[in-house]
């Protein structure tokens, strides 16, 4: 931590680091919580229109993305076990696989969004503004919530890239792996939020 020339003693507390990460995850949950409140209110007000709008999303791509994210969470968890057992190379390649899964998720997302935008469904578009209020709100929330989630995917990938560098330099190793653990915790959160987003947008009826 605060390593210095003379006095400041390096202080390591893995339990404390994990605790800090969990607290941070709370804040992330509440950040999305605000959006879930908005979603709940508007869906309550416009149940029928939310249902109709939801049918326009591609459930297949959504499900595919769910499977991809869940699997990537597994590979992230496996990379910790691999590092704990001292297999640094295997651990690193598992992280790379996780990042690749994340990339695939984003590519799918990109196609999904661009298909919608191609059909003229995006915030403020002429096509969307003509529709009933519930559908405008549904797609507004769809873009905001999956967009914020996608931002978190990008942040998660960035964190994993940093951890990879730390593993390369040896800062993260068999005995000091809390950074990898925290990165994986963050990744599980990204996964968890998607688990709620998927049914709320793709599967409602």
């Amino acid at each position: 931590m605060s390593s210095t020339a003379h006095t400041h003693v390096a202080h390591r507390d893995d339990y404390g680091s994990r605790m800090g990460m969990w607290l941070f995850l709370f804040t992330e949950l509440i950040l999305f919580g605000g959006l879930f409140i908005v979603y709940a209110v508007y869906r309550y007000m416009h149940q029928q229109e939310f249902h109709l709008a939801a049918q326009e999303l591609n459930t297949t791509i959504g499900m595919l993305n769910t499977i991809i994210l869940l699997t990537s969470s597994m590979t992230a968890a496996m990379s910790i076990t691999a590092l704990q057992k001292g297999n640094v190379r295997f651990s690193m390649s598992l992280i790379v696989v996780t990042i690749l899964f994340a990339g695939t998720f984003m590519v799918n997302k990109f196609f999904e969004w661009s298909a919608k935008i191609h059909h003229g469904i995006y915030p403020g578009s002429k096509e969307l503004v003509m529709r009933p209020e519930g559908e405008i709100l549904y797609f507004g929330l769809y873009y905001v919530m999956t967009g914020l989630h996608a931002l978190h995917v990008i942040v998660g990938v960035t964190i994993f890239v940093f951890v990879l560098v730390f593993m390369k330099t040896g800062t993260v190793n068999q005995t000091a792996y809390v950074k990898l653990e925290n990165a994986a915790l963050y990744w599980h959160l990204v996964d968890l939020i998607w688990i709620f987003l998927f049914p709320l947008f793709y599967l409602i009826h």
Binding site: H8, G16, G34, V41, V144
Partner: protein
């Protein structure tokens, strides 16, 4: 118990002379990870913002001295009260106690060498400065600074052509800074307490910070996402808060106050902690009802998170919701009252020493009680209809935030000044400054209660001539207050540079920070202390060099 860290005359270089990095001068401060230096960075940046916002407040008051145009136009007036609010709330009062005195003293008071994440601590200061600079820069961009009020209510905040987006972004970043400070403190309290420092041996300021830190962590993300939604709304027109597209502006108000009401407790709970520290020291008595004060902090944090809609009684809500929120508003006054009773009981039969920190605490109790009682009036549904959006509300929250927290900050500055800078200010001047600020303060805000009750709306640029006497009294009060502030700050700055050397324990405090030398060494303690007694145990305590301090 505690190892007394050397005599009053310094034997070791303090944290002001030894840095945590290899740099000298300004860089040794800008790159420091020492919690004490970060606290001082916060202190100076915060005081700068405070001074700017005081000037804005002064100008607003000056404009209101007479009906009609006095020194500025209505648009300028709207922008000034918006900036005054944003700076005072997000850059002064919310970070005030946790980021300055919490950073400096929390680790020392629990017998630790630093907070648990020193680098995140420094990062949060940079976020604070970034947010502050964005807010300042937004005022200079074409379009002018935001004119929405600090509450950014939609739909106006979506439609105005002023620079709302930078102001929102600034508040968002400042929220993130606040979250990181809270996260640091909760983890530090859990993990870094010295051996023997059980939960119920923690000083009450630490309890206050701990409760506050939870609110910072759990409430701030809501304002983050809400402000972000307004930004998105302005950029893309998603419609979430736009009635034309089906959105609901009242929903914005709910989300805004879900954070912003708990934020009031982020401001006040640490100040209550300060009061709980100062009273036992200057009354020379153990605090009365330690556990009640500690738990009441948590109770305030809990109840305070459930009363947000009392800001919206006239905005449109079901009767049931109104009753519930009004009831909870009354409930939150119970833990606050518990604290007041305990403080007063602590003073009973104490041998009270009227030093400046204690005087500021007395002002705190007086003004906070007025603020609290008027808060109950506003929490009553029938009265609220009459008083909503009048200057009665303005007076109420200034009595709590400025009269309470602001004076708590002044008390903390005077109490811990000798520890932070190793020097003493002129106590006589400080006492005068206290008297003048207290008189000026009450002269400034008390008339607002009366004119608000008579129907003077808040945030109005112009008013009927019948309100003028109150406005004149209030404006004159603002001059007295500012005079007091100038004397106070000049005295402190002079003391910082030329004051007498302060001993390690000038007031006779029993908490851990007074066992370190003044100013503390880089690592606070030579050896981590082992704690056997409570923080306010004076049974075997010699009243130290209180007389020689000045």
């Amino acid at each position: 118990m505690v190892n007394v860290a050397g005599p009053a005359d310094k034997i070791e270089p303090s944290f002001l002379e030894v840095s945590t990095n290899k740099y000298k001068g300004i860089l040794s401060w800008l790159l420091t990870v020492d919690h004490k230096r970060i606290g001082i960075l916060y202190l100076f940046s915060m005081m700068t913002f405070f001074s700017v916002a005081v000037v804005f407040g002064f100008l607003i008051r000056l404009e209101l001295i007479a009906p009609g145009r006095t020194i500025m136009g209505p648009q300028m007036y709207n922008q000034l009260f918006t900036l005054h609010g944003i700076i005072m709330i997000f850059l002064f009062i919310i970070p005030g106690l946790p980021a300055v005195f919490g950073n400096f003293f929390l680790p020392i008071m629990i017998g630790a060498k630093d907070v648990i994440f020193p680098r995140i601590n420094l990062f949060s200061w940079y976020l604070f400065i970034t947010g502050g600079l964005i807010a300042v820069i937004s005022t200079m961009l074409p379009g002018g600074s935001a004119d929405t009020g600090w509450t950014f209510y939609v739909p106006y905040s979506v439609r105005t052509t002023t620079n709302v987006i930078p102001a929102l972004a600034a508040a968002f970043i400042l929220g993130f800074s606040s979250i990181l400070t809270g996260l640091n403190f909760v983890t530090t309290v859990h993990r870094m307490r010295a051996p023997g420092m059980t939960w119920f041996k923690m000083p009450l300021f630490v309890w206050g910070l701990y409760a506050t830190a939870w609110v910072q962590i759990l409430a701030t993300p809501i304002i983050g996402i809400t402000l972000a939604l307004v930004i998105v709304e302005r950029f893309l027109g998603v419609g979430i808060f736009d009635p034309a597209l089906g959105g609901d502006p009242v929903l914005y108000q709910h989300l805004f106050w879900i954070y912003s009401h708990p934020a009031v407790y982020i401001m006040i709970i640490p100040a209550m902690g300060i009061v709980s520290e100062i009273i036992p020291v200057f009354a020379r008595r153990t605090i009365f009802g330690y556990r009640f004060i500690a738990f009441s902090s948590l109770a305030i944090a809990l109840f305070g998170s459930l009363v947000w809609a009392h800001h919206m009684f006239t905005a449109g809500m079901s009767d049931t919701a109104q009753f519930v929120f009004s009831f909870l508003t009354y409930a939150v006054s119970i833990p606050s009252a518990i604290k007041i009773f305990n403080w007063v009981s602590t003073m009973y039969k104490g041998s009270i020493q009227l030093d400046p920190p204690f005087l500021y605490v007395l002002s705190f109790i007086f003004q906070f009680s007025i603020g609290g009682f008027t808060g109950l009036m506003l929490g009553a549904l029938s009265v609220n209809i009459h008083l909503q959006d009048t200057s009665f509300v303005v007076a109420h929250f200034h009595y709590v935030m400025f009269g309470g927290t602001g004076f708590g900050i002044f008390a903390a500055m005077h109490y811990w000044f000798p520890k932070m800078f190793g020097r003493m200010y002129n106590k006589k001047v400080a006492t005068w400054a206290w008297a003048i600020t207290t008189i000026g303060y009450n002269a400034l805000y008390f008339p607002m209660f009366i004119m608000g009750y008579l129907g003077m709306p808040r945030r109005y640029y112009d008013y009927l001539p019948e309100f003028q006497p109150y406005h004149v009294a209030s404006t004159i009060g603002s001059w007295i207050l500012i005079l007091g502030l100038i004397i106070m700050f000049t005295n402190l700055i002079v003391g910082m540079r030329r004051g007498k050397k302060a001993p390690a324990n000038p007031w006779g405090g029993a908490t851990l920070e007074w066992t370190t030398q003044s100013p503390p060494i880089l690592e606070n303690f030579h050896t981590i202390p082992t704690i056997e007694k409570g923080p306010y145990d004076y049974s075997q305590f010699e009243i130290p060099a209180a007389k020689e301090a000045q």
